[in-house]
């Protein structure tokens, strides 16, 4: 691959505006943009607000007006909008405003929500992109540009003269090195926030570069969007889980290093990282430290948590590992989440990590109405047995349209259709699980136990005592719940104190972050 190859100057008179809401980190839209640019199309991306907390309100009229004016200035021949299910109400309203102002410009939706609920989404726009979109977007733009038929493009649903054309997906792209690097240039990015816009790639404000080494996932957990995509791409005989070459990845990171002035770490954002085989691993572990050398973090599956592999990853720069427990109950894992339990691997890793001293974060799912108390208890006991310190990514169980869990729950009547994301918006309001979310006393009790279990300064014997007396505490949960809340305070004050002492936290940063949150809450 030659690094000298430059992106083509737009050769086609067909500007495209891509828009995303509350999704500055959206990689998909950047991939679409660069794929279109490579084909000679002129693209711009509008980022409508950033997502730093759960209060995702409708952008103001003024902000939407800015977006409309930017669209007017770009004179696009196609407008694309990518979004997640929880943002459907906002995306729908913004799209309505765009169509109202520019009724003659065709509009296409893409992303996981249109992929999971195309039948309803196609009623609102001209086109949908279902599944992976780079090739489909190129085909759609070429067809529109040459006034060719747009009703028979694989992956593209079209609505024309009241008729709906639903086209199945093309075979999954197998050779990921065919993809261009994501578009992270500044000059074609418009970031709308706080009632004004700037021309910049907003991603570059952070010190972290997020990269995908692969697409797909070898697993098929029932709550995950992967189960939707597996339904879309149900063909056999092709790889669903695909890796890029090390060469291609290092090329992208070289670009990122030049483009991100503050780059200090790399987040490998794969659903499952480093499960690509020994030859791939050997090449990566040999070349990454020499050619990139930036600390990185990733999600590893339990079988990867082997001492020899971890040691090599740490030597290459791994500083933080995320791994999914979700539930430590074998029954809940297998029967509800469609996962195999990896408790022993995780426990072995946790023991070994005393030597490695990696920062480790475990994924845990709470608020699962299908989980029995025994299942929650098993998770509590497992968390209590894990060596500290560790952090937890809490996930409040959400029902995304089209996942196998949602389909099953709708089928057996255990799920109110109004609680499916798109109609519901819980996924963003509980994107970061909050203590004050309404939940049952039993769920409050176990959330409190999970919180306490991960705090090194709370004696395990004390937590075990609470668990032993759980019948009492579930009926009188408030003291335990507020104790856990207080423990959260202590932890965060301690973190702030340590960061201040180390010089990593300054009053300037505090003011800046407080102001950012206030700005976005308006």
């Amino acid at each position: 691959m030659s690094m000298e190859e430059q992106i083509q100057v737009p050769s086609k008179d067909f500007p495209v505006v891509l828009l995303t809401i509350y999704s500055v980190e959206n990689a998909g839209i950047r991939y679409i943009s660069s794929a279109l640019q490579r084909e000679g199309f002129d693209t711009s991306i509008i980022f409508l607000r950033d997502w730093v907390h759960n209060n995702l309100a409708m952008p103001t009229d003024h902000e939407i007006e800015i977006a409309l004016e930017l669209i007017a200035a770009k004179k696009p021949k196609l407008i694309g909008l990518g979004f997640m299910s929880s943002l459907y109400p906002i995306a729908s309203e913004v799209s309505r405003r765009i169509k109202e102002r520019y009724p003659d410009i065709p509009m296409v939706w893409g992303g996981i929500h249109p992929t999971s609920d195309p039948e309803n989404c196609i009623k609102e726009v001209d086109y949908l992109c279902v599944g992976e979109g780079e090739l489909a977007a190129v085909d759609l733009c070429n067809a529109l540009h040459t006034h060719a038929d747009t009703t028979n493009i694989p992956n593209i649903w079209a609505r024309k003269d009241g008729e709906i054309f639903s086209n199945g997906p093309r075979p999954l792209l197998q050779e990921l090195d065919w993809l261009p690097y994501p578009d992270i240039r500044d000059e074609n990015k418009y970031y709308i926030e706080g009632g004004k816009y700037t021309i910049e790639e907003p991603w570059k404000r952070t010190a972290e570069y997020r990269i995908y080494f692969s697409r797909g996932c070898p697993y098929n957990c029932s709550y995950c969007y992967v189960s939707i995509l597996r339904d879309v791409y149900e063909e056999k005989g092709r790889k669903f889980y695909r890796a890029r070459s090390v060469e291609h990845i290092l090329g992208e990171l070289e670009m990122a290093r030049k483009a991100f002035p503050k780059l200090a770490r790399v987040k490998v954002d794969d659903d499952t990282s480093f499960a690509f085989g020994d030859a791939w691993m050997d090449e990566f572990l040999e070349r990454y430290p020499k050619e990139v050398g930036i600390p990185f973090e990733c999600l590893l599956i339990p079988p990867m948590l082997r001492p020899d592999m971890l040691r090599r990853l740490v030597d290459a720069g791994l500083v933080r590992v995320q791994t999914g427990i979700e539930s430590a109950s074998a029954k809940e894992s297998k029967e509800i989440h469609n996962r195999s339990p990896g408790n022993r691997s995780i426990m072995n890793f946790a023991e070994y990590n005393k030597e490695l001293k990696l920062n480790i974060v475990y994924d845990v799912i709470i608020d699962n109405p299908h989980a029995t108390e025994d299942m929650k208890l098993e998770t509590a006991e497992f968390l209590l047995d894990l060596p500290r310190p560790y952090d937890i990514y809490f996930y409040s169980l959400n029902y995304f349209p089209g996942t196998s869990l949602t389909k099953q729950s709708l089928e057996d009547g255990s799920l109110d259709p109004n609680l499916v994301e798109g109609k519901a918006t819980k996924a963003w309001r509980q994107f970061r699980v909050s203590m004050d979310w309404p939940r049952s006393d039993e769920d409050k009790f176990y959330l409190a136990i999970y919180c306490l279990a991960s705090k090194s300064f709370v004696p395990r014997s004390f937590i075990r005592n609470l668990i032993d007396n759980r019948e009492h505490w579930k009926q009188n949960v408030e003291p335990i719940f507020y104790l856990a809340w207080t423990a959260n305070y202590i932890k965060m004050f301690n973190v702030a104190y340590r960061y201040f002492r180390a010089g990593e936290l300054t009053w300037f940063k505090v003011r800046q972050y407080a102001s950012l949150r206030k700005l976005i809450s308006q």
């Binding site: 030659s2 070898p218 499960a275 195999s340």
Partner: protein, 104 residues
């Protein structure tokens, strides 16, 4: 501005800073667990960076060469190996060795 006024302004500023910190800690305490990466990346209490000075000019003139990974002169090639042969699912590792039920 007199000395007294300056001291008063300084104290006010420090109180405001402390309140900001309290507000952030309060928010974090209400959200147990680590924030997701894109949130942590902006959050100073989780080692994140919120960017340069708030009045930074947009970096629109930054010279970044955007290399094209490959020219798409032809359709991507196909590879039909199937996806049921993951090397790490063939061992004997704690139950994860079995492909998930929905996959096999």
């Amino acid at each position: 501005m007199g000395l007294r006024a300056r001291i008063k302004a300084k104290i006010k500023e420090k109180i405001k800073d402390a309140r900001s910190l309290m507000a952030i800690v309060h928010e974090e305490a209400n959200h147990p667990g680590r924030p997701q990466p894109h949130m942590a990346a902006r959050n100073p209490l989780w080692g994140g960076e919120t960017g340069g000075k708030s009045d930074d000019k947009p970096a629109s003139n930054t010279e970044v060469t955007q290399p094209a990974a490959k020219k798409s002169t032809s359709e991507p090639k196909e590879e039909l190996d199937g996806d049921n042969d993951f090397w790490y699912l063939r061992g004997d590792d704690e139950g994860w060795s079995d492909p998930n039920p929905g996959q096999s």
